[in-house]
């Protein structure tokens, strides 16, 4: 016969203060842990939309990002000679999109406009919507003849002055008035933090005669490596990378941030383990006679051991749940919007931190592991209580 679960559960409430304090320690650690998991997952969710291996980004040699690349039109035209570009099934046009990118500063919503962020303004043609398949306008698209732009939903949400009907002052001289006429989604990818307008109109506004970059979609079965070699080869002499490679480079600084957070969380998890161990040692010490009695009436060492581990797991789950709830509440109250620079784009990637069921499960799972580790040695000690001596104690 095993010890009833209610025996362990009720034991937690014999020493309410100690239980509460330990639960709160665990909750604080789990709260931070859950936040970090949510942050990483949301960022990953965004970047995973930009891991298309069949999409190539072409930049001028020496440039590190779309924003600092200048691609002359004649050099761009050389890309048309590539055989491996996919074609539009109806028009037979190559899926090759010339693009221009500049930055615009807009005030952040979350701090009331105290600081401003750099948003990418991308000039595109019709081809862009075929190359960047995830981009889906939710309403009207800019028309070629008018000074109009459409805004990604993340940008519209996190920066002010980017709602439908708002006027943006764009152009090199800051004197062209563009109207926001629609929003677009991009499956939560980086494009959702951008503003899109008609390429020729924007080139004119910014006095540009060159594109910034080109994006192209590969034919089914084409080898990206070979195409990249061709583009970087003597005939075209540009630099190319898959979208996945590009975003990997851009997320380098974000990864530094994540690494710092991970170290901090790991240290705090260790502290939680020590704290649980402390509590469990005290529980074991306070119940030596009780344990001895249980052993006398026939409960095995293993049962005592697992019993104490179970109590610790209860503690951890209580703390874990409280921590998760705390984290959700924190995100709700303090806001869950975040935006970060790519390493060399200097344009911002805006996203929202959402805790997914997977994050919560993972946080709870980890805290159970922490509970088991923290309780192991105290529980071992409990299972080895010298029965006769302990019963004789006052």
């Amino acid at each position: 016969m095993a010890l009833p679960i209610s025996y362990h559960w009720r034991n937690l409430f014999v020493r309410k203060t100690t239980t509460l304090l330990t639960v709160l320690v665990i909750a604080a650690v789990v709260g931070v842990f859950a936040w970090m998991l949510g942050f990483a997952a949301s960022l990953d969710r965004s970047l995973s939309q930009a891991r298309d291996e069949t999409k190539l980004l072409v930049l001028k040699r020496g440039a590190t990002a779309e924003t600092n690349s200048a691609l002359p039109v004649d050099e761009y035209n050389n890309l048309n000679q590539l055989d491996d570009i996919a074609r539009d099934p109806t028009t037979n046009e190559p899926l090759l999109s010339p693009e221009m990118m500049v930055q615009i500063s807009r005030p952040r919503v979350r701090d009331g406009g105290k600081t401003w962020g750099n948003i990418a303004l991308r000039g595109v043609t019709e081809a862009a919507f075929k190359v960047h398949r995830t981009v889906q306008p939710t309403g009207r698209v800019f028309s070629a003849g008018a000074q109009e732009v459409i805004v990604g939903v993340a940008a519209a949400q996190q920066f002010s002055g980017l709602n439908i009907g708002d006027t943006l002052e764009l152009g090199y001289g800051n004197n062209r008035h563009y109207t926001v006429v629609g929003y677009f989604t991009a499956d939560k990818g980086p494009a959702e933090s951008e503003v899109w307008g008609y390429l020729p109109s924007l080139m004119n506004a910014y006095n540009r005669t060159m594109y910034s970059s080109a994006s192209l979609r590969l034919k089914g079965g084409a080898d990206p490596k070979k195409v990249i070699e061709l583009i970087e080869g003597p005939k075209i002499q540009l630099s190319a990378q898959t979208e996945a490679q590009y975003w990997q480079t851009q997320s380098a600084s974000i990864n530094t941030y994540l690494r710092i957070t991970k170290v901090l969380v790991a240290v705090m998890c260790l502290a939680a383990i020590f704290s649980i161990a402390n509590t469990m040692f005290s529980m074991v010490a306070g119940r030596t006679r009780e344990i001895a009695m249980l052993r006398t009436i026939g409960f095995s060492r293993g049962q005592i051991l697992s019993g104490f581990v179970l109590e610790s797991v209860f503690l951890s789950i209580l703390g874990g749940l409280l921590g998760c709830v705390g984290c959700i509440a924190w995100l709700y109250v303090m806001g869950n919007t975040k935006d970060m620079f790519g390493s060399s784009t200097f344009t911002t990637l805006a996203f929202e931190i959402h805790l997914t069921p997977t994050n919560l499960t993972c946080a709870l799972g980890s805290v159970i592991v922490v509970g088991v580790i923290g309780a192991w040695i105290p529980a071992m000690r409990a299972s080895r209580v010298a029965v006769v001596t302990a019963l004789r104690e006052p």
Binding site: T18, V25, T64, N118, G171, V267, M268, S275
Partner: protein, 389 residues
């Protein structure tokens, strides 16, 4: 029997608990001191920037929209007597990358004549300035990059630009800057850049930002309003910010590490408070009879209170020392470099951070010991002695 003696005996009685508590205290405190160090460095940088009274003027729509270099004269003309405005320095982003690496430096081409005045905190000695003025290829590099690539004063180095037209330029180092916030910064002369641009037929004569050195804080605010007003409704509409406001835009985009660190610090204080409180409750409960005996043999309530409180404080002191000192030593010996967090390229632990950390740990320890100490003080010895622990 002194309090210290009782204290040490009590801590030694359950060495396992003392150690576990100390460890559970030490680890979060290690996080705390690192977080606080960063915050302290940032605060120092911010305070320093504020003293430097520099006002940045950039194009309103975007920092990447360039301003004509001739605007410098127009700005200077706003204060011809130089009452508030000391000097104006135009700056252009070069995006210089160390060849064959991915490390793009904060490399900026600056107006040679006014740079030593506007950036007097770079600490150029008169002979450095003389060298800077004499050689068009002169440059000033941050200590972080200089150490990383073994650059020495007087040495020649090359950087390749990551912005059009992707020039590669050769420089001669005249000074290495030591301040923490300029580890990854590189300044060189703008006339050299312009000359090189012209040589390749790239029309330019524009800058990204003007930094204006002001005489007083009031003067800076007045100029800020005056400049934005002067250029309003012109093709070069401007947005002026002091250096801290300018930097805050980037801090947010870097994920707001200072904010993260502050949040972490708060969580850590909560954790150590709970840990200390927990331990004190446990040891108080176990020692109720003993404290009752103390009272019975004539210890005053105040003394009992002090004993419990002092034990809590002692425990947190041990814990915080165990966490803070190794971290401080580690971070001082092996400073974290290459962090791309706004202006900060390295974190070193400051004595302020260490003192603050230990101070906070002590306060937390005292606060956590208050309740058990109060209970101990109010203990009715007869009841407690009768109780079976």
């Amino acid at each position: 029997m002194t309090i210290t003696y009782v204290l040490m005996q009590n801590l030694k009685r359950n060495p396992l608990r003392t150690m576990l508590t100390a460890a559970a205290f030490a680890l979060p405190m290690a996080v705390f001191v690192a977080a606080i160090s960063l915050v302290v460095v940032l605060m120092k940088v911010a305070a320093h920037n504020e003293q430097e009274l520099r006002l940045g003027v950039r194009q309103k729509t975007s920092l990447t929209n360039l301003l004509p270099e001739g605007m410098r004269r127009k700005i200077e003309a706003l204060d011809p007597d130089r009452k508030q405005l000391r000097a104006v320095c135009g700056m252009r982003w070069f995006g210089g990358r160390v060849p064959d690496t991915k490390n793009t430096l904060t490399s900026l081409a600056v107006d040679a004549d006014t740079f030593p005045v506007v950036y007097d905190d770079v600490g150029m000695a008169p002979e450095d300035t003389a060298k800077w003025m004499a050689d068009r290829t002169a440059c000033v590099a941050g200590s972080g990059v200089a150490e990383q690539y073994h650059w020495k004063v007087g040495g020649n180095i090359e950087l390749e630009s990551t912005v059009p037209p992707y020039l590669t330029l050769r420089f001669k180092i005249v000074k290495i800057m030591t301040s923490a916030d300029r580890g990854n910064v590189f300044y060189f002369r703008r006339d050299y850049l312009e000359e090189s641009y012209q040589a390749m037929g790239f029309a330019s004569s524009r800058v990204h930002i003007f930094w204006i050195k002001c005489s007083t804080a009031e003067g800076l605010r007045a100029l800020q309003a005056q400049i934005d007003q002067t250029f309003a409704n012109s093709p070069e509409e401007t947005k002026s910010e002091d250096e801290n406001a300018f930097a805050a835009n980037f801090t947010q985009a870097g994920g707001d590490i200072p904010g993260l660190m502050q949040a972490m610090a708060i969580v850590v204080v909560c954790i150590v408070g709970l840990v200390a409180g927990n331990t004190m409750m446990m040891s108080f409960r176990e020692r109720i009879r003993e404290l009752a005996v103390f009272k019975a043999i004539g210890f005053q309530s105040g003394r009992i209170f002090t004993i419990v409180l002092a034990e809590s404080a002692m425990l947190s002191l041990i814990g915080s020392l165990a966490g803070v000192l190794p971290t401080a030593a580690l971070l001082t010996l092996v400073p974290i470099r290459g962090l791309r967090m706004g202006p900060i390229s390295s974190v070193e632990v400051s004595p302020v951070a260490v003192v603050v950390s230990i101070g906070i740990a002590l306060i937390v320890g005292l606060a956590a010991g208050l309740l058990p100490a109060y209970q101990a003080m109010r203990l009715r010895s007869v009841d407690a002695l009768r109780r079976i622990a």
